[in-house]
């Protein structure tokens, strides 16, 4: 495994205001290295999604620091954070978030379109990304013409087309049956085999744990346990 692609140190994050203010993260530290697939597990309200948002540069921590591919996010303006996210992070969402009136090809292309890349090679790259997830034959299909598993694979293709080093996946198998869930995780595991790419998966699904190199358990905004897969808890 190589250097961390995403690294959080002592991250504290408050959400809400006034009486509704809650501390969602209470000093979380973790790193996602290139060449590894890490799973983040925890009950609802434990802070998984907040942590994913902070690691994905969508929320800024109140305390602590986040580094993406060596770039510190502290003090960056929203547009700079957006650029950092665009160039270094790919997202896979639980409910796919595909654009229903764009074809699979266009949905994948969109990740490069927002970078301002309108060259013809974008088409080839989108085809390659769809081939990587086994959907070369579905380039012209619209999301509603695809099964749930296929939609999630299109979302993965969108996440990887930009050759970003970090893939952050939020419950990618939650809406899938075991066969499709297995297929999706196989793809993510393949991505994580590349030394330059790390995959962080937030999940509740115990069926997919065997794909992880490491499992991080979070509860009440704190990391309570880190397990190397097949090993014993490394930290409490």
């Amino acid at each position: 495994m190589s250097d961390p692609v995403v690294e959080a140190t002592d991250v504290v994050k408050f959400l809400g205001q006034g009486a509704g203010k809650v501390q969602a993260l209470r000093g979380v530290s973790l790193s996602l290295n290139g060449g590894e697939l890490v799973m983040l597990m925890g009950p609802s309200g434990s802070g998984k999604t907040t942590l994913l948002s902070v690691l994905g540069c969508m929320l800024s921590p109140n305390m602590g620091s986040v580094r993406v591919c060596g770039h510190a996010t502290a003090g960056l303006a929203p547009e700079q954070l957006t650029a950092l996210r665009r160039d270094h992070i790919g997202f896979v969402f639980q409910s796919y978030h595909l654009f229903p009136t764009l074809t699979a090809m266009d949905n994948v292309r969109l990740a490069l379109d927002v970078r301002g890349d309108y060259s013809r090679r974008v088409i080839e790259r989108a085809k390659e990304a769809l081939a990587t997830v086994g959907l070369s034959h579905k380039t012209r299909s619209y999301p509603l013409q695809l099964s749930s598993g296929e939609q999630q694979r299109v979302a993965i293709a969108r996440a990887i087309i930009g050759d970003v080093p970090a893939i952050l996946a939020d419950e990618p198998t939650a809406a899938l049956d075991s066969e499709n869930g297995h297929a999706v995780m196989s793809i993510l595991a393949n991505i994580a085999r590349q030394e330059t790419r790390g995959v962080l998966v937030v999940t509740h699904d115990p069926r997919i744990l065997p794909f992880a190199h490491r499992i991080i358990h979070i509860e009440d905004g704190r990391i309570i346990r880190k397990t190397r897969n097949g090993g014993t808890p490394t930290q409490l």
Binding site: M58, E79, I89, H97, L102, D113, V114, Y118, I123
Partner: protein, 425 residues
């Protein structure tokens, strides 16, 4: 602050302003250059069409009912603005139509004359004073006066007499569709416009009527010489006009001046103003400007037209803003996804603004067709709506500006949307 300090600060401000202006101009050129280069790349196939066009079109056409409401709003607004501005142009043209058709180098008029229809009178002595000024070749009297036209079926209606002798410099009728200009030399001959036949209770050429208590016979018919005051113009030779109006034979409303070859109009005008006793000389442009100023702004008519146009624009902005906002709100998840996958603010603005521009193009297209129909329908009316090409282009730019301004609320909404919502929806 001393005067020197003030000038110094002003110069600094001026330099800063010029620098900003030059930077803005340079940036605009660079941007336009990039847009042009990109368009060429698209046309030559080196680039592919950006997806923001597809996204914008989809957002716009997704809900046909809302699209219809948007387009109706734009069309309603732009037709209202078009009619108001078309009337303004028409009004502006009509108030100077007589000045435009008089072949005078200078106009001499009673002091304080506000517009062509002002019925104040000059004494003949002013004509002799004018002729004594070096550079003046000719000064031809023209009478403009109200008179009562007796409708053959009963009753009277006011008309505006234009009394001018047939002369190279006179104010003669144009757009003649019946009779001949020579016919005006026939005793009792008058010329009227076809659009006023019904109002004057006449069927046209050959009809005999009464103006004041004197006989008049229609020997000439014109088309399109209309007065915005709706009072019909009646052309007739000068002396006959004086008779109809009951005005002394030595009076006139204007003197149309022709200059000698090589004479400087401005210096002659200055000299005339020094020489004339109770009259003043104006260049045609200055007289046009004075007439327009009086009718459009002195009477409040122009302000009313502008107020109508402004109201139309406000209605348009509100409707388009509301529908764009609703559309953007409906697609806020997708915009949040765009933000989450790293689209810049500019990309998101572009989607919304293209949506606004598409609405503008469709709405303007429909409004332009309706505008053309209105132009045709009012062509023969007392106050036709005129939409010259310049006005059409201005209205298109106005529609675009209106739709872009309308997009602000939608843009603000999207920029306030937290991209992290994609994890919770």
């Amino acid at each position: 602050m001393t005067r020197v300090e003030f000038i110094s600060v002003s110069r600094q401000g001026l330099r800063g302003g010029l620098r900003r202006l030059s930077e803005f101009t340079a940036r605009t050129f660079i941007y336009l250059w990039r847009v042009a280069a990109f368009a060429v790349s698209l046309l030559t196939g080196r680039k592919i069409t950006p997806l923001f066009f597809k996204l914008a079109a989809r957002n716009l056409f997704h809900d046909r009912l809302r699209l219809a409401a948007t387009i109706t709003g734009i069309v309603f607004s732009m037709v209202l603005v078009t009619v108001q501005m078309g009337l303004f142009v028409s009004f502006r043209t009509m108030v100077t139509t007589m000045i435009d058709h008089a072949p005078a180098d200078l106009w001499i008029m009673p002091l304080g004359t506000k517009c062509f229809e002002d019925p104040a009178l000059l004494d003949e002595r002013e004509r002799f004073r004018a002729l004594s000024v070096p550079g003046v070749a000719e000064a031809v009297p023209v009478l403009v006066s109200f008179a009562q036209w007796h409708i053959p079926s009963g009753g009277t209606t006011p008309v505006l007499l234009i009394g001018s002798d047939r002369n190279e410099l006179g104010l003669q009728p144009w757009n003649i569709v019946g009779g001949d200009l020579h016919n005006l030399s026939i005793p009792d001959a008058v010329a009227v416009d076809r659009s006023y036949f019904e109002r004057l209770g006449t069927s046209g050429l050959g009809d005999t009527v009464e103006i004041g208590d004197l006989k008049a016979k229609i020997h000439l018919v014109t088309q399109g010489i209309r007065s915005f005051t709706t009072t019909p113009f009646v052309f007739t030779p000068l002396d006959r006009a004086r008779n109809y109006a009951g005005i002394s034979g030595k009076k006139a409303t204007y003197l149309l001046v022709r200059l000698q070859g090589g004479a400087d109009a401005e210096s002659v005008r200055t000299h005339l103003n020094q020489t004339l006793a109770k009259a003043e000389a104006l260049a045609p442009d200055a007289f046009r400007s004075r007439s327009r100023s009086f009718w459009l702004f002195g009477t409040g008519a122009g302000a009313a037209l502008f107020a109508g146009a402004l109201l139309g624009m406000i209605v348009g902005i509100v409707i388009v803003a509301q529908t764009l906002y609703a559309s953007t709100k409906e697609f806020s998840n997708e915009f949040a996804t765009l933000r989450a996958i790293g689209s810049s603010s500019r990309y998101v603005y572009t989607v919304i603004i293209i949506q606004a521009l598409m609405s503008a193009a469709i709405g303007f297209g429909v409004a332009a067709v309706i505008g053309k129909v209105i132009v045709k329908a009012t062509a023969d009316s007392a106050l036709p709506v005129l939409i010259p090409a310049g006005l059409m282009i201005s209205l298109f730019l106005l529609t675009v500006a209106m739709c872009v301004v309308s997009a602000i609320a939608a843009i603000v909404h999207i920029m306030r949307t937290d991209p992290a919502v994609v994890f919770t929806q």
